[in-house]
Amino acid sequence: MPSSRVRIVVATSVMLTFISYWRAAAIVLNDLGSSAFYAGGIAEQAVGKAAPWFIVAVMLFSFTVRAVYVESCSMFVRGGVYRVVKEALGGTLAKISVSALMFDYILTGPISGVSAGQYIAGLINDIFTTADAHGWIPRAAHVMFNGTPHVPVNWTSVVFALLVTLYFWWQNTKGIQESSEKALRVMQITTVMVVILLAWSAITLVIKGYQPVPWPTPVNLHFNPESLGFLKNHADLPKLFGILGILMAFGHSVLAMSGEESLAQVNRELAHPKLKNLKRAAIIIAIYSFVFTGITALLFVMIIPDSVRIPVYKDNLIAGLAMYLVGPHLLRLAFRAFVVVVGFLILSGAVNTAIIGSNGVLNRVSEDGVLTDWFRHPHRRYGTSHRIINLVVLLQVFTILASHGDVYMLGEAYAFGVIWSFTFNGLAMLVLRFKYKGERGWKVPPNLYIAGYEIPIGLVSVFLVLLSTAIINLLTKSVATVAGVSFAAVFFLIFSVSERVNRRKFALAEQQMQEHFQLLQRDTVEREALSIRPGNVLVPVRDYNTLHHLKWVLERIDTREQDVVVMTARISQFGAAAYDLSMEQIFSDYEQQLFTRTVSIAESFGKHISLLVVPARDVWSAIAQTANNLESSAVVTGLSSKMTSEEQAFAIGRAWEAMPDPKRQFVLQIVHPDGKVDTFHIGPHTPSMKTEDIHLVHRLWLNITRERGLDKVHHNDILTEALTRFARDYAGRDRDEILKELRKTSRHTVTTRPIGGDGGRPESDANPSEPTGPSDENKQEPPAARPQ
C-alpha cells in the first residue's frame, strides 16, 4: 500500500555558481590581504623592530596552514563545521572550536573597520598639516583647534567603523549577494597599489639607502608589559630561554595570516578540476599575501624613520610608507590618498565578510542543532536570518565601542580567535586522519608508513607549531585571553543550552516530520531520480504567508498531466558552504510550517505536488539550476518584496547565463499579489517583433525581390543580412552611435509603454504550461534573453 505521506526530496549538495581559481583567490585575499594594513604595526609594538622577520616567518608558515585547509577541503564530509569537528573531537571540543571561530569572525569586522578609520583619520590630519604649511588654513580654524586643525584619530575610527558596520548590517538584513566580481575588482585595484608601492620602495632604497632590520634573535626582542601579558613579572624569561622569546614573537605576529580560513569557504564554489583549482588558488593566495604582507612589513622598518614609525604611523603603516618614499610631497600625499582608498575598499569588504561569515556559520550551527531555530527565523520582508545578523552586529558594535579605536587591543584579541580556530582545525584534521576512512583527494606531506601504520609527519608538525603558539598566546595576551575565554564561555553556554532544548524539540519535530512527510536524500537534483516528468512546473517558495503563486499554478495545472515541483532553497551563505548538508541537520519550525502550509494548499485543490529542498549559495542559481536539471518548462514565482519583477527576471537570467552547458530555456512567470502576471523567457529565444518592424521587413523584401536575380530571397534572409551588418557595425567604429540610438529607443519605449503593461493581452490568464511569450514589446528581458 502506498504511503500517504508527502515525499520531500532533500538534495544535499549545495547548488553553486562555479568560479575560477582567480576569483576564489580574490575572495580569500580580500580577507587575508586586509591584515597587511594593521599586522605589521601590531607586531612591532609587541616585539620591537625585529617584528618584520616574524611576519615573514608567519607568512611562510601560512603556506603549510594552507596545506592543512587543502586536505580538509579534499575530504568528502557532510554537515556544518560543528558536525565535522564533533565527528573528530567530540561535542565539547566542537562547541569550543565553533566559539573560537565565531570570535575570529566577529572580531574581523571591528578590527577592519577601526583600521580603515585610522587610515582615513590619519590622511585627514596630514592634509590639514600640509594645508597649514602652505598657509591655507584660516586663522579662525587655528583658534578653534588651538593649532593646526585635526580630528581625534581613535574616535574618528570608532565612528567610521560603526557607520560601516551599520551600513553592512542593513545590507545583510536586506540580503545582498556576495559577489566574486566585486572581490576581483578590489584585488585588481589592490594589486595596482602593491606594484606601485614595491616599485617605488625599490627606487627609494636605491636612492636613499635603508635602515637595517635587526635579526630575529632573543637579544633583539623588546617586549613591553602589554605584550608579556601574564608573564609581565617574568620579563627576563624570553631572553633566559631564547626559543621561548622567538615563540612569543611568533605568537604576536600570527595575525598576519588571519583570513586563511576563508579558503575552506570558497572551495565548494571552485570550477572543475576542483582540487587542482583549489591548489592553484591556494598558491596564488600564499604568494600574494607573502609579498604584500611580508615584504611590506620589512619595508616599513627599512624606509620609515624610527622616530615616526611607531609614534605616528603605528596604525597606518602603509600610509606612513607612502609618505617616506622619494619624490615630491604632493605626489606622495596623492599616493597616500590612493592607499587610503584601497584600504577603505579592502577593509570595508572585510567588515562585510565578517557579518556574512558569522551569519553563515551560526546558520549552519543552528542547522546542526546547536543553536535554537529561533535564531534562524526569516525576516518578514527580506527572508534573511535577521536575528543572527542582529546578534552579530550587536557584538561587533559593542567590541568597537569597548576598543575606543585601539587597533593594538583589537589585534591582540583577534589573534586569539585566529590561532585557536587554526589549532582546532589542525587537531580535527589530525584526528580525522585516523578516524575518517572516506574519500580524501590529498594529504599534507610527508607521511611515513611503518608496519602498515601511517605517521602524518607534516600534519603533526603544523599542529605542533599551532598548538605551541596558541598556548603561548594564552599567556602573553592577557586582555585577549580574558576577552576570548569569556566570549567562548558565553557561546559555549548558549550552544550547550540550545543543544539540550533542541534535542527534545528535534525528537518531537522528527516524529512529526516522519508522520507527515517521507524524507528522501539525494546528492544532486536529477529529474529521473526524483521521478518527475519533463516539462514540469517549478514553484519556488519561501514565505508561508505568500503562497498565492502556488495557488495560481494549482488553479491552472492538471497535475495528472504535468508535475508541479515546489522548491525551497536553503541558503548557505559565504562562510557556511564549506560542507554539504547532512540529513541530520534539522528542519526549523519555520520550514516545517512552510511544508505543511504548502501541502495543505495542494490538498485543498485535490492535487499532488512534489516537494524539494535544495541547498544553495544564492536563490537565483538554485532556481535556474533546478529548473535546468528537472527540465522544467516553466518557473512560477511570487513577486519579491525587495525587487521588481524585471529585476527578479534579470537575476535569474544572469544565473542561467552563469550555468555550464547543456542549458535549457524556460519561461519565468512572476505572479503579483493582485493576480497580475509578468512573463519572461529565460535563455535565447525568438524575439517578438513590433508590427511596424514586420511591415518594414516586408517592404524591404518587396523591393529587394524586384531586383534582378533576387526573386528567391526570403524575409529571414533580409533579417540575417541586417543582423550581420549590425553585428559588424557594433564591433567596429559605429558602436557608440549604435548604443546612443538604442538608449534613445529604449527610453522612448519605457516612457510610452509602461513595463508590465497589458500590451493588448491580459497576461494573468496565461497558463504556465502554455506560457505566452513576452507579448509586450516594451518588456525588459533578462540578459539570457538577448541573442548573443
Binding site: 603556506f63 587542482k276 608538525s461 539550476q625
Partner: protein
Amino acid sequence: MNVLIVVGIRTLETMFVAGGIGSFLVLILTGIEDIETLLGSDDPSRKRW
C-alpha cells in the same frame, strides 16, 4: 624557578622547534608540488554541478 614552569617552557619550545622543522619539510614538499600544479594542464572533461 619552579621546575614545573621550566618543564612547561621546555615542552613548548620542543613542540615549536620540532613542529618548525617538520613544517619546513611541508613547505619544501608542497612547494615542489605547487610548481607541478602551476605547470600542469587541466583535465579537458567538464563535470556538471
